[in-house]
Symmetry: C3
Subunit: 217 residues, 3 copies
């Protein structure tokens, strides 16, 4: 997992998550401190919750300046860009595509780092902890972002997002004793990307027991 490929994936994910946090913060008219906090929380919050749950304290993200500076610089860039950049429809489309690609890669690579943390600590049932830590790492940051911004967490009512992470982590946890950790990681990566891309392309949704306009918006 220390190969250059994964580092690049991780950086892409961190930046994409920081962008989404910064955009929510600006939308809620926070000041630049709030924009930085939300970018940080979204980018490293999932990993922090994972580390606290797994008993890794202080969390890796709090001792490490890389992800940190990445999120802060992203937040400052987005803050500046928001005030300066005239966004045409065409630019936005291109930007959205780029954002979705980075975000999906982040979802996949964060799922894998969470799952590997869980596999490293063998307690009780061999699937529950790795799968949960994978999903928490992948979506925890977004949930923290939404709670801080007084939004209902997006993963709870919309889209195939956490579900992609869940399926990827579960399948590769089940197969990892047979195919080894590297193949399981790549399998997880491929599954998350495919499911998420399919959901975006074909507008897949999960079953809603009570359909209709969401309350509490």
């Amino acid at each position: 997992m220390d190969s250059l490929t994964w580092v690049v994936f991780d950086i892409m994910g961190t930046i994409a998550f920081a962008v989404s946090g910064a955009m929510v913060a600006i939308d809620k008219r926070m000041d630049v401190f709030g924009v930085i906090v939300l970018a940080l929380l979204t980018a490293v919050g999932g990993g922090m919750v994972r580390d606290v749950l797994a008993g890794i304290t202080p969390p890796v993200a709090l001792c490490n300046i890389t992800d940190f500076m990445l999120a802060i610089l992203t937040a400052l860039f987005i803050s500046w860009g928001y005030t300066r950049w005239p966004i045409s429809h065409r630019n936005l489309q291109r930007f959205l595509l780029l954002y979705n690609i980075c975000d999906t890669i982040g979802l996949a690579s964060f799922t894998i780092t969470g799952m590997l943390t869980g596999l490293g600590r063998e307690y009780g049932n061999p699937y529950v902890l790795p799968v949960l830590l994978g999903v928490i790492t992948a979506v925890g940051g977004g949930v923290l972002r939404d709670v801080m911004a007084r939004r209902m967490p997006v993963v709870l009512y919309k889209d195939i997002y956490a579900t992609a992470s869940l399926v990827g982590a579960l399948v590769s946890c089940l197969l990892y004793p047979y195919i080894g950790i590297l193949a399981a990681s790549w399998l997880c990566f491929a599954l998350v990307i495919l499911l998420r891309a399919g959901a975006l392309r074909y507008d897949w949704h999960l079953f809603h027991p009570r359909p209709g306009k969401r309350l509490g918006k």
Copy 2:
């Protein structure tokens, strides 16, 4: 505490808490993933927060598949039941009574497990930690549910609920050096059940410094 009685109480509590999480999620029009997450958080969230605070990592609930499957199955059943079941007034009343019985037993048995965790780690003042962990285990899941669903936590403004847990934990912590752990547990159980049943039956409420319609609904 490992006797069959307590296991049964714990299962009743887990199911009742999962039902309340699932119902809030459906009310907020979440998809089935959201319903499962809220059922899980409500059922095992209080115990997870307790374990993290007490330094038990990873939390027991994350390594154990029983509570997990119980909450997921409850969530799926409620999701399915919501779309299929014509609920007559009479059915609802019977269901509410059953729900309140399970929920109250859950409140009592979760208070006890939290208190016992606190008594097992003797730090500083002998009452503060056990009482707090008891209350946190009992109401923490409901608070997480409400925060995720963008509701004001119900325990903060309504009903004798957390207070029942608090009184039960405090009294049995004070008496436990004299009566032993088993009697203290049953005393706590009886106190919580009595206070909660009284509050439901006679509509007891705590003092409101500023009465009137709640803001922020």
Copy 3:
């Protein structure tokens, strides 16, 4: 840090933070249990999050009855005072000044205790952890208060508050190898007080990328 001065500062901060929690709870029409919970969370929540992140479990605040009783008594006093005390404009002004003084001293002394916790555990980059723990200790309680009361966390969109704590912690972390821990603590204290007092006096604000009325109020 164990000298009487710091103990006094800490008590002033705890009381001021408990007052702000109790006032928000009353404003949201919570019952007296909610008022106590919010006072407690605001007063000791930042320190609890700091301890969990730093791996100090159970958190100091959960084993210690002093801060605890202080917050509860403050909450009861405010609840009682709210219903009894006719507040004239003149009284309110005097009270606000007193509140701001205590709150600012609390901000400064909580920043220092957080920073010292971080300096005590040398991991990775020597500045990131102490500065983050300083800021989290200082503003974490207020953020928890706002999340529980369904408000957007105030530090994210208004005022120079967290920023004062951040600047104080960062400057004194950078200088502490040269000037020693005691001078660094006092420097941090002075910086936080000056910045916060300036912000209150001259109505300083941070840059807003998207100015205008805040959404989500």
